[in-house]
């Protein structure tokens, strides 16, 4: 392979890695939109909290002298998922449920408020500076021509791919096969009818917030380990990116969010590879504008049908 194609392959690997985590976060946006038709702008903050919690747990366990890394990571994952889900549930309970049935704009404003609140709460509790964690998973698998360009696929990247794949498969099975998933789908189609059939729609809605938050926490752990650094403001930009991914794939569509995340990740990686890397955000948000202008229903979304 030529140098150029090896270089391209490397960017593709990097892009798919970041894209996987965007996809994980985007699920939370798309599921919540699918079921109650609102954009949960506090979702990025849940990701950030998930990242912080996993850092705290990992640092704590290392400090206690634990050495078995897989065990540490699994404990961190479980705790981060649990606490972030609690946050997701609480945000819905406190800031959105009381506003159910009001004008669509009102929960949106409440969501922005919640986002600012959570961000500043973490600034107060943890300080606004970067918190760093030494790389835990090192090593990589390299191939290509050492003379020209060596492509490296780090173990961390492989872990991100594997975990994302597992989460997405589990989610797809849950939504399509389980009883609760069936109720979720029914609820997103016709909430009134679902309620009439005796399904507790509030509980179903709370469930989607919990699932979204859990996946965001997984992304928080993965990206935290990948970058090795976290600060209270990472949720904002990651949230916007994941939102872009969700819109790109078609908001409300779960496969759309997965696809949108990957496309966005790869686009960003390629942009920063061939252009000055400052352009990557320009390109991704430019993409958002183009999608909203020319295909507002996204790649896999269904066109909105005006209800009579």
């Amino acid at each position: 392979m030529s140098e150029a194609s090896l270089y391209f392959l490397q960017q593709l690997i990097n892009g798919l890695t970041i894209g996987s985590t965007y996809a994980l976060i985007a699920i939370g946006y798309t599921m919540v939109y699918g079921i109650i038709g609102m954009i949960n702008f506090a979702h990025g903050e849940i990701y950030m909290i998930g990242s912080y919690i996993s850092f705290i747990v990992i640092a704590g366990l290392l400090g206690m002298g634990m050495v078995a890394l897989p065990v540490i990571l699994i404990i961190a994952l479980v705790i981060a998922v649990f606490i972030a889900s609690t946050y997701g549930w609480a945000v819905e309970r406190v800031a959105y449920r009381p506003l159910r049935g009001s004008n669509r704009l009102i929960p949106l404003i409440s969501a922005i408020g919640m986002s600012i609140f959570l961000q500043n709460y973490v600034v107060l509790a943890q300080g606004s500076r970067d918190v760093a964690l030494a790389p835990q998973i090192s090593g990589s698998w390299t191939f290509g021509d050492p003379q020209l360009f060596e492509v490296s696929l780090s173990y961390m990247q492989l872990i991100i791919w594997a975990v994302t794949l597992v989460c997405m498969t589990a989610l797809t099975l849950f939504i399509s096969r389980s009883r609760m998933g069936r109720a979720c789908r029914a609820c997103s189609e016709d909430q009134g009818m679902t309620n009439l059939l005796g399904i507790d729609t509030n509980r179903t809605i709370a469930m989607t917030f919990i699932i979204g938050a859990a996946l965001a926490a997984v992304a928080g752990l993965l990206l935290g380990l990948y970058y090795g650094v976290v600060n209270p403001f990472v949720g904002f930009i990651a949230g916007l990116k994941a939102f872009t991914a969700a819109v790109l794939g078609g908001i409300g569509s779960i496969p759309g969010a997965m696809l949108g995340g990957l496309i966005l990740g790869v686009t960003e990686a390629l942009t920063s590879a061939y252009f000055p890397s400052e352009y990557k955000d320009v390109v991704s948000f430019g993409l958002l504008i183009l999608i909203l202008l020319f295909r507002p229903s996204g790649l896999l979304g269904k066109p909105e049908v005006e209800k009579v």
Partner: protein, 255 residues
């Protein structure tokens, strides 16, 4: 005297100054098909909305199995065994036929998440039961062959039948059908006619029907109520209604 299944007295619904329903009475016994007819805008659907909990009646009483249900929430009323359909089909159109049937039985299944994850014996038994019930009712409405089709892709007549089947798996005692024959072709109307009669005769439930298709109404109703401009005009058997001069006047105008 046998107890009435549904006993509606002096039901009144006001929207501000507008009186949409004024002193309507309805009496339904077990295993009866009762129809409510009247010109467009007579307030028939408003009556349905009051009975099924979509509106809180301004006045009057609604006794279902002897219990006051006026003012209860819609899902409480449907849990008590009074279930309705709508003028417009309201299926979950992105879900398959069988999924529509299973969603309707959601609350009959054990709600414990853990037992669902572990697939305990009792959970499996309940799941099997709801599957059996779904299959039974799909067979009854002649839809079993379409079980894995997406509901949105069915023909209109099939969607109507599926909607009735979906109501039936919740095991109601009184089924409220709001213009079930609207938009059906004569063949489909005939199937519907037979289905409603079978619900009464074989499955021993009562049906309250709003319908504009007079041959359907006259053919199957045990009792007919006529309302015009929200006010009760007449009630009686099909023959009595056909020959009632007030009813003819309300439909065709004064001579």
């Amino acid at each position: 005297m046998s107890q009435l299944l549904l006993d509606v007295n002096a039901l009144t619904m006001r929207f501000g100054g507008l009186v949409a329903v004024n002193g309507v009475n309805l009496k339904i016994k077990n295993r009866q098909i009762v129809s409510v007819i009247g010109p467009n805008g007579a307030g028939k659907t408003t009556v349905f909305n009051c009975l099924s909990g979509f509106y809180i009646p301004s006045d009057g009483s609604v006794l279902f199995k002897g219990e006051q249900i006026a003012g209860l929430k819609d899902f409480h009323i449907s849990r008590k065994g009074l279930v309705r359909t709508f003028q417009h089909v309201r299926l979950f159109s992105n879900m398959t036929v069988i999924e529509n049937m299973l969603v309707a039985q959601h609350r009959h299944l054990n709600t414990n998440l853990l037992s669902g994850l572990l697939k305990t014996a009792s959970y499996r038994r309940l799941e099997q039961e709801s599957m059996d019930r779904a299959a039974f009712w799909l067979e009854e409405v002649d839809m079993l062959a379409f079980a894995n089709r997406e509901a949105g892709n069915l023909s209109y007549g099939q969607q109507r039948r599926l909607e009735i089947a979906r109501c039936m798996v919740t095991q109601p005692e009184l089924l409220l059908l709001d213009e079930p024959a609207a938009g059906l072709n004569p063949n489909e109307t005939k199937q519907l006619d037979e289905l409603i009669v079978r619900l009464r005769d074989e499955h021993e439930i009562s049906v309250l029907l709003i319908e504009h298709d007079m041959s359907l109404v006259m053919g199957i109703s045990d009792h007919i109520y006529v309302i015009a401009q929200g006010t009760p005009l007449a009630d009686g058997s099909a023959d009595e209604i056909k020959n009632n001069s007030d009813v003819i006047k309300a439909y065709l105008g004064e001579e």
